[in-house]
Amino acid sequence: MKRILLICLFAVAVTVASHARTLVVAVNTALPDLKAAVAEAADGDTIKVKKGYYYSYNTLITKRLTIIGDGYPVLDANYKEEVVTILANGVTFSGFVLKNSKTGSMRDYAGIRLHKVHNVTISNNRLINNFFGIYLSDCDHVSVIGNTTSGTGTELTAGNGIHAWQCHDVIIMNNYSTRHRDGIYFEFVKKSRIISNTSERNFRYGLHFMFSDDDLYQKNTFRNNGSGVAVMYSKRIRMFDNLFIENWGSSIYGLLLKDITRSQIVGNRFVRNTTGIYMEGCNLMTANNNTFINNGWAMRILANCENGRFERNNFESNSFDVTTNGVLNLNKFDQNYWDKYEGYDLNKDGTGDVPYRPVSLYAQIMEQIPQSVMLMRSFMVNLLDKVERAIPSLTPESVKDINPKMKPWTR
């Protein structure tokens, strides 16, 4: 009996599934906008929106629908509301231009908002001039793929491009974010992946983590943002194969790390940043196989960082390789390539025979008297550094690379 019932149920399910309809939205038809189509549709239906210009004042998607834009139809909120809010599980939303959300200060208005949903895919949309671009709150198993979002472009009314709050198992992939406050923002987001995105010319950070654990970001590019990436108050973040480029200015960093533990920085490139990596209050960090080229400061590690391992990195053409504000105990530098290394390799094993001390005497002086920056590259400073290298006495004994490489690591 039970089996027959099951078969019947299955049959019903199949017929229901096969009865999924496709509704077409077009201007001047029975279904003139997305809102009318959502009201008409049932779970499992597909809505196709034809090319055209539609006003959308916070259209609520409350059913399990596949919504596809045909030829990038425009949904415009005309600065009055959010554009679209998705409140149902299993929604696919793809191929739209969403623009002009309200820019309020009290509420975070967004182009696409997702609230308390799972198994939702947001793909290939273009978001233009919204306060927040894509806003996820209380979501899990959501994919955000191939979208571009361009914010308001004014500092005071810019929200975040892709904003996630209290989510887990989210994938953010192949998106482009610009003119926002933070390109991508994670707060209380666990076990999520950020892969192959580009964040550029955002006002604050390209990517920002707050209180988010066990996340991975890989193969992203962060160009010319306020700062590249900030990871704060988080644990076990993996940062692999990213490019941090041209994040310039006072108190601006390629990668800013504050109070984080057990995180890995592997295979990244830091090019032309004021400070490549800034670390404060970081424990059990590993930074291996990274390349630092043409930065002001390649790494600035404050004395409250412990148990860091920095191995097999390339340091080339940086004004300062490593600086610190005290003694760096329990941090280990090993097998890095330093272009400023002037030692020798008598046994020709590719490793220098005398240790390299990356913190120069001049960097120590700069620490006490910042104004002495005006003496940079002067004869006196070079002389000081040369003497200190020959007879180390003032630079921290603990910071040294015992096995400096003679040639850069090839990547």
Partner: protein, 136 residues
């Protein structure tokens, strides 16, 4: 002589400085100060200025540097309602509510008076706090 005197007087002024949103960085969390609803500042009795992106950052900094700041120093916070304007932090009323997304996750908003805070809170389930309750 007069110029020197003038310099000496201005050098010791304890005037607060407006927060440059989008430019200044928070002393405590290093973040650029961006959100006009939030922000805080300490002006010490000697006239040194510390800027913060939120009240919770200022509180964190004060407790971290225990003993460095005292009664003689001025604490200022930004009005959540009007944004951008600094008020005496000791005289403000604070709302602690999950709905308030302050920059450092403190869920804290500063308002000018208890009256203003109460009207703002309405029927919400946030909590009202005074400065003395916060510094504890």
């Amino acid at each position: 002589m007069i110029v020197l005197l003038a310099l000496w007087i201005t050098a010791c002024s304890q005037k607060p400085e407006a927060l440059q949103y989008g430019k200044d960085a928070c002393v405590h969390c290093m973040m650029t100060i961006m959100d006009r609803k939030f922000g805080a500042e300490i002006v010490t009795s000697k006239g040194k200025i510390y800027k913060f992106d939120s009240a919770e950052c200022m509180l964190g900094y004060i407790s971290e540097k225990r003993g460095q700041f005292g009664d003689a120093d001025t604490y200022l916070v930004v009005n959540y309602k009007s944004g951008g304007t600094l008020m005496d932090a000791r005289k403000c009323t604070y709302i602690h509510d999950q709905k308030i997304s302050s920059p450092m996750g403190g869920n804290l908003a500063a308002l000018a008076s208890e009256q203003e805070a109460k009207t703002f809170l309405g029927n919400g389930n946030g909590k009202l706090l005074t400065w003395n309750e916060l510094v504890k």
